[in-house]
């Protein structure tokens, strides 16, 4: 407070009271509303995950019935996918930082932005209401495969409607970001001067817009089938269940990139900041996001190799799946090349970014195993798949989310968390994560099927290891959450630019004032990551 002469009040101070939050039009407050809601659901679903691991500590029934177990993994999956990881980075950090990084004061449609958050809450209420009303939460798995999803007595209709509403919320966020990027960049910032996080959000938003309606209509068909008997998928009254699978994965494979691309965008921000060095291959990273978004549309069939598919179709889907690996690998090479000869400062956000690369590499490579026709027949629907997608979504996207939280925390709250504790939390998370999920990959190769509350005795050791891992993991989560809360309340005051970052959000106060900037932000000369005192600066 004392260094600056006239300090604008921060966006926290402008107005107080509950209503000033839940009806706010300020993108920063909306971002924080999302953070608390999404964070809450992550903790709930993580709790369910821990419960499942506890049940799997020993073979046989420990404390969860078979039917309950089915409902638990479904609820865990639905919450983690639709309420946590899909909205996570765009809704929280996209909302908070996209306008600031573009040098503007809000998104293009502030009211629509608030409406998206309310839709999110409505969807969440629908999902949770299955716990209290009707015959309990759905037991179909998060994929709602027909015909079981049309026949089961559990509350599939409400869960499916929840996913529909959440999809709508996600579409509106994407739409808002696309228009914001097109219309509100600061004068002088062309597309190729945008920070890479903005590029990543741009590609993501297009996927949200182009893929989500397909699952929307598919889920409505499930509802119509359950409520009115419009039998489009149930073979006993006319329909074709394989068609459901196609429609489901036409969305849900691209949805993987809704999770992964923003995460990659975050890594592309963190790495240059902590290497104090221009990003290597800016355009390659920016355009590879678009390439991933595009190719990602033509690979959905790799989820259905074992459900009945013609040979040629399977081969095409398999080859396309291998193609997606190329733009992904381009990014990894660029990140590593950026670190090379940089002035690396190992701080918690960088550790999370490096962990992202490590985990995502395992997630991606195991994905290739699943995309290969012969191998997939062996490991389809085993714990290999469970291990694979947790590596991608949790070890990848989830860790990037945590990284973003630690990277932008001082900007958002104007305070710094305890770095030592944060390092400890990171170590627990990283070790816990790998101890939980690496054994699953081996279990899968040995043939343990997924979605059962029980297993054969020969899988006991590795399951025990995995459950021990989940205890380390959950300790890490608890330490991290407590440390962040403590930092937000009584951490040391943070300066405007504690990491010596160069993108526009570091030019304004921490936390930013209501309109983000007190004066015109200045674009760094020679590109968004051109560090002036770095060896490779271009002037």
């Amino acid at each position: 407070m004392s260094e600056t002469v006239v300090q604008q009040p921060s966006f926290f101070q402008v107005k107080k009271g509950l209503f000033s939050w839940i009806f706010t039009l300020d993108h920063k407050r909306i971002g924080i509303l999302y953070l608390y809601s999404i964070g809450f659901f992550f903790l709930v679903a993580a709790g369910l995950g821990i419960l499942m691991r506890l049940e799997l500590l020993n073979p046989g029934r420990d404390f969860i019935e078979a039917q309950t177990y089915n409902q638990v993994f479904t609820l865990h999956g639905v919450i983690m996918i639709f309420l946590f990881i899909i909205p996570s980075v765009p809704a929280v950090f996209g909302n908070f930082f996209l306008p600031i990084m573009l040098g503007t004061d809000d998104v293009a449609f502030p009211r629509l932005n608030l409406f998206s958050w309310w839709l999110y809450i409505l969807g969440a209420l629908f999902a949770l209401s299955t716990l209290v009303f009707g015959d309990g939460p759905a037991d179909t798995g998060w994929t709602f495969y027909a015909p079981y999803s049309v026949k089961t007595g559990t509350n599939v209709t409400t869960s499916v409607l929840a996913a529909f509403i959440l999809g709508f919320s996600s579409i509106l966020t994407g739409l808002n970001f696309i228009v914001t990027i097109h219309r509100l960049r600061t004068p002088g910032m062309g597309f190729n001067q945008m920070p890479l996080f903005a590029w990543a959000l741009y590609a993501t938003s297009w996927i949200q817009l182009l893929a989500t309606p397909v699952i929307g209509i598919t889920l409505l068909m499930i509802v119509a089938e359950r409520v009115f008997g419009i039998g489009l998928f149930d073979p006993s009254i006319g329909g074709d269940p394989i068609l459901y699978q196609h429609l489901f994965w036409i969305y849900s494979h691209p949805a993987v990139y809704i999770m992964a691309l923003p995460a990659m965008g975050i890594v592309s921000e963190i790495i240059p900041t902590f290497a104090q060095r221009t990003i290597f291959g800016y355009k390659a990273i920016a355009y590879s996001s678009m390439a991933i978004a595009f190719v990602g549309y033509f690979v959905w069939g790799h989820h259905m190799f074992t459900s009945g598919m013609s040979g040629p179709a399977a081969i095409v889907f398999s080859i396309m799946t291998f193609f997606v690996a190329i733009p992904t690998a381009v990014k990894v090479f660029n990140w590593v090349a950026t670190l090379y000869k940089g002035s690396i400062d190992i701080q918690v956000p960088l550790l999370f970014a490096l962990a992202f690369i490590f985990n995502f590499l395992i997630g991606g490579l195991t994905g290739l195993v699943l995309g290969a026709l012969a191998a997939d027949v062996h490991v389809h629907d085993t714990y290999f798949v469970v291990g694979h997608f947790h590596y991608v979504m949790f070890g990848g996207a989830g860790f990037a989310f945590f990284g973003a939280l630690h990277y932008w925390f001082p900007k958002m709250w104007g305070r710094m968390y305890n770095k030592k504790v944060a390092n400890t939390a990171f170590a627990l998370l990283f070790i816990g994560f790998n101890t939980t999920y690496f054994p699953m990959l081996i279990l899968g190769l040995k043939g343990m099927p997924r979605r059962y509350y029980d297993y054969l005795p020969e899988f006991h050791d590795l399951n025990m290891l995995s459950t021990f891992g989940s205890w380390i993991l959950v300790t890490g989560i608890i330490v991290m959450v407590i440390n962040l809360f403590a930092g937000g309340i009584k951490g040391k005051k943070a300066s405007a630019n504690p990491w010596n970052g160069i993108t526009l959000e570091w030019q304004t106060a921490s936390p930013p004032p209501l309109h983000n900037f007190d004066k015109m932000p200045e674009l760094p000369a020679g590109g968004p990551y051109n560090y002036p005192n770095a060896k490779n600066a271009s002037h």
């Binding site: 449609f109 509100l184 960049r185 004068p187 006319g238």
Partner: protein, 209 residues
């Protein structure tokens, strides 16, 4: 709290930006097209697999009612387009009248649809009714799609009508004016989409032989 000297960025998200709102609307229409696109895909696949049954079932529909509804919707697309031009030329009154005409057309469409559907119900042609459940598989699929697609379309007619009604109120309150007509234009765009989808539904269900 904020003082009068607060610096405001030239590229503020709170500025009125007609281009942005039009762009947003087009993107939204795009998602609507994809929503129906999923259904068209399902239609194509089931029609391809059950060509004869689809043909037989389509004879149950009343082509006349479908034709009248098509004309009604096409006319309403014209009236809303005229409403936009009227407002752009500063004639708010005429714009309001033309918008009301559009809503009237929407209502007529729904009334005709109501009669069409209820005659199907009278013939026992709805899932769960005896006659329907006795139909061969392909014909049932036809009717599943018929009810689902025209039902969803009817919902869009309602939404479009409400949208236009809201804009009428805003024109009266002079929130939507000659200079700021984006909202009326957007409701018009939405209405054209509703029309467009019907233009595809009509031949798919009534005409193809």
């Amino acid at each position: 709290m904020a003082d009068s000297h607060t610096f405001v960025l030239p590229n503020s998200g709170h500025n009125f930006d007609a281009k942005a709102s039009k762009m947003g609307m087009w993107l939204f229409l795009f998602t609507e097209l994809l929503l129906f696109g999923g259904l068209f895909l399902v239609y194509i696949i089931y029609r391809y697999l059950n060509q004869d049954a689809f043909l037989l079932a389509s004879f149950e529909l009343n082509v006349w009612m479908g034709t009248i509804n098509t004309i009604v919707l096409l006319t309403s697309s014209m009236t809303i387009a005229m409403a936009i031009t009227a407002l752009q030329k500063g004639n708010a009154k005429l714009a309001i009248t033309l918008s009301w005409l559009t809503i009237l057309a929407a209502l007529s469409f729904l009334v005709i649809k109501y009669f069409e559907w209820s005659s199907k119900f009278e013939h026992g042609l709805f899932p769960g009714m005896d006659h329907f459940d006795g139909l061969p598989l392909g014909e049932r699929l036809y009717f599943y799609l018929y009810f689902f697609m025209t039902g969803l379309h009817a919902l869009h007619v309602i939404v479009g009508g409400v949208f236009i009604a809201v804009v009428i109120r805003l024109i009266k309150k002079e929130k939507v004016t000659k200079e700021r007509y984006s909202l009326l234009e957007n409701s018009g765009l939405y209405w054209h989409l509703v029309d467009l989808i019907w233009i595809y539904l009509f031949p798919l269900f009534y005409l193809i032989h």
